[in-house]
């Protein structure tokens, strides 16, 4: 693992004395219930800075509930969520500043232009108009949409919209990026583009990524893996270790063994 963010000075009484090992995201004993139905049961794992962590689970495993808790859309019932050490319940402002999110449903204003969508998001983060315009132009260039800045979002393809959403999530320069099944409904080419773009962010910019998916082929051997099934974490750790511990050859088989093999992989795709 590459070294996490630099520590410029020694701090007294920093929470969790070992500052060097502060994870980008720490999920600690999270349980969540909708009335009698338990959606998450004692979920704990970490995402390190500059790492790609895949959250693998079928539809209904509790991935979206977990995302809603991390982004503070729901209140936490039991447990703790920390973003670079900032508790999301106690200190939401600081935690959300460091977080970029791409939700599963599209959340763009279809009738506004690409630039207008980005400027709105920047304003929500208190980024001044001039600074926001510079960053928007730069990000739109990076995702290859510089010539479309004034078009309505409605006229974009599905893959372009996703790229725009990722650009938007990066606008306030977060250190942790959450993506909830971002490739759903995209064609093979668009999927590959998005995956390689996000992997680039990890290696080049040191962003910690949590990537929720139910598609095995989106996971690399070098990734970290969390297997979530029916609200419980069945396995976590580097992909190689998880696969080996399950006595399997690949992620697909490992997942089948862990979950009891009743469900066909990728059946929800």
């Amino acid at each position: 693992m590459t070294s996490p963010a630099p520590i410029t000075e020694t701090r007294e009484a920093a929470p969790k004395a070992d500052t060097a090992a502060v994870p980008a995201l720490s999920i600690d004993g999270i349980s969540h219930a909708y009335g009698p139905r338990r959606a998450l049961i004692d979920v704990s794992f970490n995402v390190q800075p500059a790492s790609f962590t895949a959250l693998l689970g079928l539809n209904g495993a509790g991935k979206s509930t977990l995302f809603s808790l991390i982004t503070r859309l729901f209140g936490i019932q039991t447990g703790r969520v920390g973003i670079f050490g900032h508790d999301i319940s106690k200190n939401p402002g600081e935690a959300l500043r460091l977080l970029g999110v791409v939700f599963q449903p599209r959340t763009l204003d279809l009738d506004l232009s690409l630039t207008q969508n980005l400027l709105y998001h920047a304003a929500l983060h208190g980024i001044s108009r001039r600074e926001a315009a510079t960053r928007s132009a730069e990000l739109l260039g990076r995702i290859g949409l510089s010539d479309r800045t004034g078009s309505k979002v409605r006229d974009l393809s599905g893959g372009q919209m996703r790229r725009l959403e990722i650009a938007r999530a990066l606008l306030h320069r977060p250190r942790l990026l959450l993506l909830d099944e971002p490739t759903v409904g995209l064609d093979v080419k668009a999927r590959a583009d998005i995956i390689s773009h996000v992997r680039q962010l990890v290696t080049e910019q040191g962003i910690g990524v949590l990537w929720a998916t139910h598609l095995f082929d989106e996971i690399n051997a070098s990734d970290d893996l969390v297997v979530l099934h029916q609200g419980k974490v069945l396995a976590k750790g580097p992909v190689g270790r998880v696969v080996a511990e399950a006595g399997a050859q690949d992620v697909n088989t490992a997942f089948m063994r862990l979950t009891g093999a009743q469900t066909m992989p990728g059946s929800g795709a």
Partner: protein
């Protein structure tokens, strides 16, 4: 890029960050409004139908005596104009709340709520933006009404502004409070029947309350207790450069109560959290 530490002390937000956020939300609401021309037209047509048709028909039926703030006998059209201005705001407030339910279903609300700024402030900005849109509609209505001989004193166009802002905030926050309790879009039809119509008809928008009292003392008390009556009266007096203090007090208190309620309802650890997943789960 800033270096990251585990230090948990909040850095807070500067005044200019707050203002950037506020301007951004109002700007986006304005853009959306411009893109929905049908919404603007229907927001104007509704009160104009009341003014051109209903009021003309009722002119002969209802005599209006001289009641404050009017100093002479007035036409029925002149009487109901403030009621129709409040109606524009009532519909706009409920429509903004409809858009919040829609936003929540479509996920746009998520974009707003993951902003790091305090959630109460974000919702307040959203309310102000909705109110700003209602002001555009009301002034467009006043312009057309002027050609229909509804001519308040020129200063009235200015003095009515603070009244409109306050009543817009009250009706907007009521809508927001209601929207927090609605799970799906379809429930909004119920809101129309159970909130908009009773509020509008059991108020002083269409008839002076002394007339109501003659007909039914009970309905009179209902009208008096209706916050919408006070929004109408606040606007009516302000349009003629006067302040109706009782209405001002009622509207201000209701605004506070509704807004506090709405912010409470959108607090993640209370309101929405108790209501299950908001959208697709997976």
């Amino acid at each position: 890029m800033s270096s990251i530490t585990a230090h948990d002390a909040p850095r807070g937000f500067s005044f200019s960050e707050y203002m950037t956020c506020l301007t951004g939300i109002v700007w986006r609401e304005g853009l959306r409004f411009l893109h929905q021309r049908e919404r603007f037209v229907s927001a104007l047509v509704r009160p104009l139908v009341w003014l051109f048709i209903f009021a003309a028909g009722f002119r002969q039926v209802l005599g209006i005596s001289i009641i404050p703030p009017y100093e002479t006998y007035i036409l029925y059209e002149v009487f109901i104009a403030p009621g129709l201005m409040a109606m524009i705001q009532l519909f706009n407030g409920m429509q903004s709340s409809l858009s919040m339910v829609y936003d929540r279903e479509m996920g746009n609300m998520r974009t707003l709520l993951v902003s790091p700024l305090p959630r109460g402030f974000l919702l307040f900005c959203k309310l102000l933006a909705g109110t700003a849109v209602s002001l555009l509609q009301v002034y467009a209505f006043l312009l057309i009404a002027w050609f229909w001989d509804i001519t308040p004193p020129p200063i009235g166009y200015l003095t009515v502004l603070p009244a409109l802002i306050l009543s817009g905030l009250m009706l907007g926050s009521l809508g927001m409070l209601i929207s927090s309790g609605i799970k799906q879009l379809e429930s909004f039809a119920g809101v129309m029947n159970f909130v908009i119509f009773p509020m509008f008809f059991a108020s002083s928008a269409l008839y002076p309350l002394w007339r109501v009292q003659e007909g039914s003392p009970y309905l009179y008390y209902v009208c008096q207790a209706n916050p919408f009556t006070h929004a109408v009266e606040l606007i009516r007096f302000a349009l003629y450069g006067q302040v109706n203090w009782i209405s001002l007090a009622v509207v201000a208190s209701c605004t506070t109560v509704f807004m506090t309620g709405a912010i409470f309802a959108y607090d993640p650890s209370r309101g929405l959290a108790r209501r299950g997943p908001a959208g697709g789960e997976g």
